[in-house]
């Protein structure tokens, strides 16, 4: 039986449309994956020595101290992104397969998910370093196993609380509150949690406790799932009461207004797009890492441009990146209705531009970090509007992953949604402005660097019609392939 289940999974992965890209993209993807693995490994190995160098105590104890945040963050991350195992259960319901087996397989599948395995890249090297540094092997193993169990506890906890937004938000608020109160030194939650984690090291056999909890959680998730495995139960789609919205104030923009109205509804009414916009919003604060000198390596002048691009381009990258895919579920309608491609594209372009301008305005608070910080933001905004807005639309032509609007679970967690072509197009979006800045910076000075980038962005603005004709051509060429790919759900 398991053999069939695994076979099904295998096919759904390798037969997805986005997977059938050219070979050199695959190589690039593999290189990218290797890079990330290397980075994580480096972190796992390096964490020990960095903490040691910072001289804030025994590295293991320091890690234990912050582990509560690590686990909490992991849970939030999972809740937002990890796909629930219920998908593809429906067709199995009618077949003569023991329900227990279906549930066990679905839950078992989550065990090998990226959300669990990625932690190994930190914990394994870190534990090895501990061993080489003379920590007691049995104690390290106990500690390691305990955390392995805790990560998996998170996994099944997430399965059980899935779609209970009220629980989730309460948790997030508590988590943020704990973080804030620690920062302002009102109350330090880690004082109470650190001893628990220390126990796993000090008394290795206590590691069995999280394992027992894990078994309990698995059993809980199992009964929960089995009980809800009905079409009108856990497998039913949630319905929300619909409200009519006319948004007549957009009517004055003619056809453009029609599309904008639709896009606003798209963003408001679908979980997936709401998440994207929210992620875009958080990008505004990304620059804090660069301008507050929180991280040393980010102090270089080029990083400021990099930050400027990200701060103002959050919406562009999280939403704009997937432009036609947002409409994937009704793309045939868009392609046969009385819509000119150009109008469709320019409405999306305006949406991205408006969001970028809003981000740039919201980011005014960077003035606090000096004029140079804000200049970088402003210049980044101009470059985003002038150049990146086109690149984003261009990249969209190659995005052939249908987006399921009502579910959040594919935002990152799904391998099928990975598209290397868009990843490749990210390079000119981020690297090119840095190069332009570098030219100005080294030839004349920092101000010239900023001006160069801004001028480049403005130039892009002038060539709008030309560029649009080119992008329209690419969309037309890709139209049939896109339609075909969107048919695959």
């Amino acid at each position: 039986m398991l053999k069939y289940f695994i076979g099904l999974q295998w096919k759904s992965f390798f037969r997805s449309a986005s997977f059938k890209t050219e070979i050199w993209f695959k190589i690039l993807m593999a290189l990218g994956a290797l890079y990330f693995i290397a980075v994580f490994l480096g972190m796992g190995v390096g964490a020990y020595f960095i903490i040691e160098k910072m001289d804030i105590g025994d590295p293991l104890r320091v890690v234990n101290r912050f582990m509560v945040y690590y686990l909490a963050f992991d849970l939030v991350f999972r809740y937002m992104l990890q796909k629930m195992p219920v998908t593809n259960i429906k067709p199995l319901l009618y077949l003569p397969i023991d329900k227990t087996k279906v549930v066990n397989f679905s839950l078992g599948k989550t065990v090998i998910s990226f959300f669990n395995l990625s932690h190994a890249f930190f914990f394994i090297p870190f534990s090895i370093v501990l061993l080489t540094q003379g920590y007691s092997p049995i104690q390290v193993i106990g500690w390691h196993l305990a955390f392995m169990a805790l990560i998996y506890c998170n996994n099944f906890l997430n399965v059980m609380v899935n779609n209970k937004n009220s629980v989730f938000y309460v948790f997030v608020v508590l988590f943020l509150f704990a973080g804030a109160s620690q920062y302002y030194q009102w109350f330090d939650i880690t004082l109470y949690t650190q001893p628990i984690f220390d126990f796993f090291y000090d008394i290795p056999w206590t590691a069995t406790i999280p394992w027992l909890v894990l078994v309990g959680l698995y059993y809980g998730a199992f009964t929960y799932f089995k009980k809800h495995m009905y079409l009108d139960g856990g497998l039913a789609k949630k319905q929300t009461e619909a409200k009519m919205e006319n948004m007549e104030w957009l009517d004055r923009f003619g056809n453009l207004g029609t599309f904008l109205k639709n896009d606003i509804k798209l963003i408001k009414r679908n979980k997936r797009s709401r998440t994207a916009v929210l992620m875009g919003f958080f990008f505004i604060f990304y620059g804090l890492l660069f301008f507050t000198s929180a991280i040393e390596v980010y102090d270089g002048p080029f990083w400021k441009i990099f930050a400027g691009i990200f701060v103002t381009g959050g919406f562009m990258f999280s939403f704009g990146q997937y432009v036609p895919s947002w409409d994937s579920s009704y793309y045939p309608l868009m392609m046969s209705q009385n819509i000119k491609y150009r109008e469709y594209l320019s409405s999306k372009w305006y949406l991205v531009i408006i969001a970028t301008i809003i981000s740039t305005i919201l980011a005014t608070f960077y003035l606090y970090f000096g004029w140079e910080a804000y200049a970088a933001v402003l210049v980044g905004g101009i470059y985003n509007i002038g150049i990146n807005s086109y690149l984003v639309l261009w990249g969209g032509a190659y995005v052939k992953t249908p987006i399921e609007l009502t579910s959040n679970k594919k935002a990152f967690g799904d391998k099928q949604a990975f598209n290397a072509k868009t990843l490749l197009l990210t390079l000119p979006k981020l690297v090119l402005p840095i190069i332009i800045y570098a030219v100005g910076h080294f030839l004349i000075g920092p101000v010239a660097g900023y001006i160069f980038v801004a001028v480049f962005g403005l130039l892009g603005f002038i060539f709008k019609e030309r560029v649009f004709t080119m992008i329209e051509g690419i969309y037309k060429k890709e139209k049939y392939k896109t339609l075909l790919a969107y048919k695959q759900k």
Binding site: K237, Q239, T240, E241, A242, K243, M244, E245, N246, N255, T258, K261, N262, K265, L266, R269, N270, S329, Y330, Y331, P332, L333, M335, S336, Q337, N338, I339, K340, Y341, L405, T406, Y480, L483, L484, Y486, K487
Partner: protein, 231 residues
């Protein structure tokens, strides 16, 4: 109105559609029947430029559909639920289509009022997004939306499927009314021979991608079709 020239569509060496010539005059109500895989939806998708012909082309009112977008203003269609926008209410969807076709709210409301019977109180004012409607009700929305903006060519793929008997009978009336208008060409495909002979003046039978019968509907048509499909 519509002319098909040497049209073929091949997938991996397998020809799924091969029509040498087909002429659909303006105002005709045209029925397309055939078993699964006969090429009905393929033909309709080609008409809407949703797939690319392997060879040949289609001319819709003087416009070659795979070359120019100029056929869009006077052509409308409902093929399947991918023609619906799931996160809109029925009204919002109708107004959206209306705006794309240059019709204001009043125009759309006027048109919708003619379909009160057909909607059977289950479509308008429902506080439901289209994605939460039943399959049958979704179909009603899609079909009526394709009438917005006085299109000259209306393409409906399997409009009777998934509808309850009452609605099927009402839909027949609606399509007949539409077909009675001189300037509207209606293309309907169906698996239901009775429905299609009732509403269409001309019936074309597709089999494995080729036209095997081209009948002007008469009292004998039903018999002839049954004889053909009985094999």
């Amino acid at each position: 109105m519509i002319t098909v020239h040497n049209l073929t569509k091949t997938y991996a060496g397998q020809t799924v559609l091969n029509i040498e010539h087909l002429e659909i005059p303006k105002g005709q109500s045209f029925g397309l029947v055939g078993n699964n895989g006969a090429g009905k939806t393929t033909l309709f998708s080609l008409l809407l430029d949703l797939i690319q012909p392997t060879s040949g082309h289609i001319i819709n009112n003087g416009v070659q559909v795979d070359q120019s977008e100029a056929w869009k203003p006077f052509t409308s269609a409902f093929i399947d639920e991918s023609f619906l926008i799931g996160y809109l209410t029925a009204e919002e969807y109708f107004y959206f289509i209306g705006e794309l076709r240059g019709r204001n709210k009043g125009d759309v409301d006027g048109l919708l009022s003619q379909f009160d019977d057909f909607f059977h109180g289950e479509i308008l004012g429902q506080k439901k997004y289209l994605r939460d409607l039943s399959k049958g009700n979704q179909k009603k929305v899609g079909i009526v939306a394709s009438f917005i903006g006085n299109p000259e060519v209306v393409i409906l793929d399997e409009p009777f499927a998934n509808l309850d008997p009452t609605t099927q009978i009402r839909l027949k009336g609606i399509i007949k009314d539409l077909a009675a208008k001189e300037e509207v060409t209606v293309l309907v495909s169906s698996h239901d021979l009775i429905h299609v002979t009732e509403v269409c003046e001309r019936i074309v039978v597709l089999n494995k991608g080729e036209i095997v019968k081209d009948l002007h509907t008469s009292t004998e048509t039903m018999k002839e079709l049954e004889a053909f499909f009985a094999g």
